[in-house]
């Protein structure tokens, strides 16, 4: 990251290759299409590039990337709410036009019953393997608040998995 701040293109490319897949997965965990996730990833990198001087050497880099990705995702979410009415009209118009449906991934389906905040905390903590402290930094909250969200998310997941049958998830296949 320091070399990227110093203008090293090889370091920038290495960072893009290393950080993009988890960020892409982070966007996909919010039930958005693959194309939208690609766009958000590109938008995130443009923002990361613009504010790369705000990273402080010695601090954990992963929460910094996720904090910016989260900002972009929240913006996208708000924008989509504002344009929801317009989109509904477009959907009505395009009902006859065939479109490739977005295939829900297994992780996405598993996290679907969780709230937005719970989903992002679980995605960072359990899927990407970040620590509680890193998740708290990325979400601008306290470690206690993250723990509480995880506890509630697990309670809900336990109910969901219990209702659908653990075998369905353990076998790795979705109906």
């Amino acid at each position: 990251m320091v070399r990227y701040q110093q203008g090293d293109f090889a370091a920038a490319t290495a960072l893009i290759d290393r950080i993009s897949p988890p960020l892409h997965r982070f966007f996909l965990a919010k039930s958005i299409s693959r194309a939208d996730a690609d766009d958000l990833l590109q938008e995130t990198w443009l923002r990361i590039h613009k504010v790369r001087h705000t990273y402080r050497p010695g601090e954990p880099a992963l929460p910094w990337f996720y904090a910016i990705a989260r900002h972009i995702r929240v913006d996208h979410y708000r924008k989509s709410i504002r344009t929801a009415a317009g989109e509904r009209e477009l959907e009505e118009m395009s009902k006859g036009v065939s479109s490739a449906p977005h295939q829900a991934g297994e992780l996405e389906a598993l996290l679907a019953p969780l709230s937005e905040a719970q989903r992002e905390v679980i995605a960072m903590l359990k899927v990407e393997g970040m620590s509680l402290e890193e998740v708290a930094r990325a979400t601008s909250s306290s470690v206690g608040s993250v723990k509480q969200k995880v506890h509630r998310a697990y309670k809900k997941l336990r109910e969901t998995i219990g209702a659908t049958g653990p075998r369905k998830w353990r076998s790795g296949g979705l109906a």
Binding site: D17, D38, I161
Partner: protein, 235 residues
């Protein structure tokens, strides 16, 4: 079902292939390459916080110098030694909080809302302890004049603070605006304590302290507005 079993299920689900198109990565690399140049990282947190406190102190002192140091002159030693250090301490906390708001993924020790509550309650406690004159002369006319004077100093202090940290990036501009407004509000209260000779408890508790939440609300609104503006600029 145990937590470990849910962990396993989550891990298994996350291992599903996520084919990120290499063309997307290539496009990202190409888009940042033309503007890739060395950048200077932000200065240390303490340095930026000291700068913010100095800016706020300068605004308070400049305002009081123009209007007169009647309040500070009327205060006794105990009042001076409690009111100004308390304001200084709260301003330091708010300055550090504001710096953290302008750096993504900073460790937040005090949330913006808690910072506002702490500042307001802290000031109320100090004022309630020190000022025991319970008369209320010209409560509204004198009070509104003080509130406006405080805000007239809080707004430039908050804006100068924002300007000072313009190289930072607020992932939540409304929260950052709230903290900047709290900091500006403390500068406004500082000016009022230096200038206002009205030591009636109700006047100080209501109108002087009100500068902080009103200024914080204005800061949050401005942050919210800036976010929308930045978004429309991006488009």
């Amino acid at each position: 079902m145990k937590d470990e079993e849910i962990d396993d299920i989550l891990k298994k689900a996350a291992q599903a292939p996520q084919d990120l198109d290499p063309l997307v990565l290539e496009r990202i690399g190409d888009s940042i390459k033309p503007s890739l140049c060395p950048v200077r990282p932000l200065p240390p947190v303490w340095l930026m916080a000291v700068g913010l406190v100095l800016v706020c102190a300068a605004v308070s002192l400049a305002g009081a110098a123009r209007a007169g140091f009647f309040g500070a002159a009327k205060m006794n030693l105990l009042e001076r030694s409690l009111v100004f250090p308390a304001l200084g301490l709260l301003a330091c906390l708010a300055a550090v909080g504001f710096v953290h708001q302008m750096i993504p993924a900073s460790r937040l020790r005090v949330s913006p809302g808690a910072m506002l509550a702490l500042s307001s309650v802290g000031l109320l406690a100090v004022f309630a302890h020190l000022f025991r004159d319970y008369h209320t002369d010209h409560f509204f006319s004198a009070g509104i004049a003080c509130l406006l004077t405080g805000l007239l100093h809080a707004i430039p202090a908050g804006l100068l603070s924002w300007l000072m940290l313009r190289r930072g990036f607020a992932v939540n501009p409304a929260s950052a605006g709230l903290v900047a407004g709290t900091l500006g509000g403390l500068a406004g209260v500082g000016m009022l304590e230096l200038h206002c000779p009205n030591f009636q408890a109700a006047h100080i508790l209501v109108w002087h302290t009100a500068v902080v939440p009103v200024s914080a609300a204005l800061g949050a609104l401005l942050g919210w507005e800036l976010r929308f503006r930045a978004r429309s600029d991006d488009r």
